[in-house]
């Protein structure tokens, strides 16, 4: 028999239940411990960097002026990536959930999921070898016609390894997760709400606007935030594609580009020693905090959209 009685006279506790409850509890605790461990490591190792001088900070006078341009580059690349990826992902998700014939939709959905399985090194290679060079003429055209817009002030990069190229690569990497989540949400739109719209004489698009998008609103926000999290932390592809010089600029198509925290760490950590290493870890702590803030604000937004829901 696999049952035991506890000595306290409380209702009988079954062994299987007890074991399973403790296993799940342990799994939950592991996450908390891992997260705390990472946070403690980053803080402890990052603190010495506050006293770092220009020698360890690539010429910057203190940690703040060292990290700030990296934060700028990280946010810029991630936000541009999202601006490209979210509308595209919504389109893909809607075509899969509401437009394409079922068999084709399944195939397309599968292909989009496959995008997530492509290693980021491959995206990086593709960005350098294919996308960058192809975009050079586009950048030159933008620089000569739209140089009055700060984003396209030029002079255009000759290699195409700009922050805009990096953002497009990031957008492709973010696309699968945003598509997958929004597709699931759209597919779950209650039939009843869709029929309410159709019965009023809504066209397919009007039905989507009336029933599907409002229902999926919080899902879209959380999908975008998860995508943002991925774009913020993505390292390899950005490190490979971007020809970074660590400046702060809104110019998206020139040869001098801001770097990102993750790419900067990946490119310089191996050669860094002493306090320079601490400075990189401190920048990692900043990235950690940014992703935390992103996730919390995502939750805040989602709960604001759904009053009364848990």
């Amino acid at each position: 028999m696999s049952t035991v009685t506890t000595g306290t006279g409380s209702p009988k506790r079954r062994l299987g239940d007890l074991v399973f409850a403790n296993l799940t509890r342990a799994a939950g605790l592991t996450i908390l411990i891992a997260l705390a461990g990472v946070g403690i490591f980053l803080t402890v190792e990052g603190i010495p960097a506050f006293g770092a001088g220009p020698d360890d900070l690539k010429g910057h006078s203190n940690l703040l002026t060292y990290v700030a341009p990296l934060v700028f580059g990280t946010l810029l690349a991630a936000v541009i990536a999202l601006l490209i990826a979210v509308p595209l992902a919504l389109g893909v998700a809607l075509s899969i959930s509401h437009y394409a014939p079922r068999r084709i939709a399944a195939g397309v959905g599968y292909l989009v999921d496959l995008l997530a399985a492509v290693p980021s090194v491959v995206y990086g290679l593709w960005g350098i070898a294919v996308l960058g060079p192809k975009l050079v003429p586009v950048y030159k055209w933008l620089a000569s016609h739209f140089d009055w817009i700060p984003f396209f002030a030029g002079p255009a990069s000759n290699t195409g390894r700009t922050i805009f190229t990096a953002s497009i690569v990031l957008a492709l990497m973010v696309l699968p997760i945003v598509t997958a989540i929004t597709r699931e949400i759209f597919a779950q739109t209650p039939r009843l709400n869709e029929e309410a719209a159709l019965a009023l004489g809504a066209t397919r698009w009007e039905m989507i606007r009336l029933a599907v998008l409002p229902y999926g609103r919080s899902g879209i926000v959380s999908a975008a935030m998860l995508g943002l999290g991925r774009a913020l932390g993505e390292t390899m592809a950005v490190a490979m594609v971007l020809s970074a010089s660590g400046v702060v600029t809104w110019n998206l198509i020139s040869a001098t580009n801001p770097s990102t925290i993750a790419a900067n760490i990946a490119l310089t950590f191996a050669d860094a020693t002493g306090t320079a290493r601490n400075a990189l870890i401190a920048s990692g702590l900043v990235l950690f905090l940014i992703t935390f803030v992103v996730n919390f604000s995502a939750r805040a937004i989602v709960s604001r959209y759904e009053p009364g829901s848990k």
Partner: protein
């Protein structure tokens, strides 16, 4: 405004499966016609062919004719979207748009038809539709609150207000009271009595007392047998159906000796 419906030799298919066979029916304008019958007999399916809502299901199609005041609904030149703007529908469970206020819910159909609507016109439409649905007095002070905050019966009347706000010619109701308590049901039935002054109403119901209370004519649907298509057994004035029906099957069903 209200229109009559003529259905002749209507077969309804889902893919290759014949769901409802050979329906011939005339539905009078400005009256209530009830569709009764056991579950799965095709009465809801038939109802949905009257505003082409069954086409939402892939593979669904019909053969035969549905004429609304002589005009065919299934003419190749007819846009199903136009049909649904002319034929309103109320569903089994109340389905207000969850993110919209009461006010916006009532206007949803109108906003589709005609984007530009002055504030005073919109206010007038909302009040008229909500009064028409006997809901105005209960919600006039909280029009900006979400429609989902109302009780089930109020939500269903909100859905009726939404359907009549576009002034359709026909109103289809698919078991509108099956998710409601008796008091809300009675409120909806009173409303149906008022609405038939202006609209042609077709209502599917499982509740035979309800059919007897609200309708002028009743159509009894039944399956010809397991796996066979549903068909119209008998259609007659409600008084006759519930006292001396022509068919024995109808008598058996309404007296509870089904089979």
């Amino acid at each position: 405004m209200a229109k009559s419906i003529d259905v002749s030799d209507l077969n309804i298919y889902y893919g290759d499966f014949l769901a409802v066979e050979g329906v011939n029916m005339t539905i009078t304008a400005r009256s209530v016609t009830a569709l009764i019958g056991p579950s799965g007999c095709g009465k809801s399916t038939f109802l949905r062919t009257l505003n082409r809502m069954h086409e939402v299901i892939p593979g669904a199609r019909v053969e035969g004719k549905v004429l609304v005041d002589g005009q065919s609904l299934y003419d190749s030149a007819v846009d199903p979207v136009e049909v649904r703007r002319m034929v309103g529908m109320v569903f089994q469970r109340p389905n207000p748009f969850p993110t919209m206020s009461i006010y916006e819910n009532v206007l949803a159909g109108l906003r589709l038809n005609n984007k530009k609507l002055s504030k005073s016109d919109a206010d007038a439409v909302v009040e008229k539709a909500l009064r028409g649905a006997n809901l105005w007095n209960e919600v006039k002070d909280r029009l900006t609150k979400p429609g989902m905050g109302l009780s089930g019966g109020q939500q269903q009347r909100l859905c009726i207000a939404r359907a009549i706000a576009v002034e359709p010619q026909i109103l289809l109701m698919d078991e509108p009271c099956s998710a409601l308590d008796p008091i809300s049901t009675s409120a909806i039935e009173d409303l149906i009595h008022e609405l038939k002054e202006q609209y042609t109403i077709v209502i599917v119901t499982h509740n035979m007392q309800q059919a007897a209370r609200v309708s002028e004519d009743t159509a009894f649907f039944n399956l010809a047998g397991a796996g066979k298509p549903g068909r119209l057994v008998e259609m007659n004035p409600t008084k006759k159906i519930f006292s001396v029906p022509d068919e024995e099957a109808t008598e058996a069903y309404i007296s509870g000796r089904f089979g």
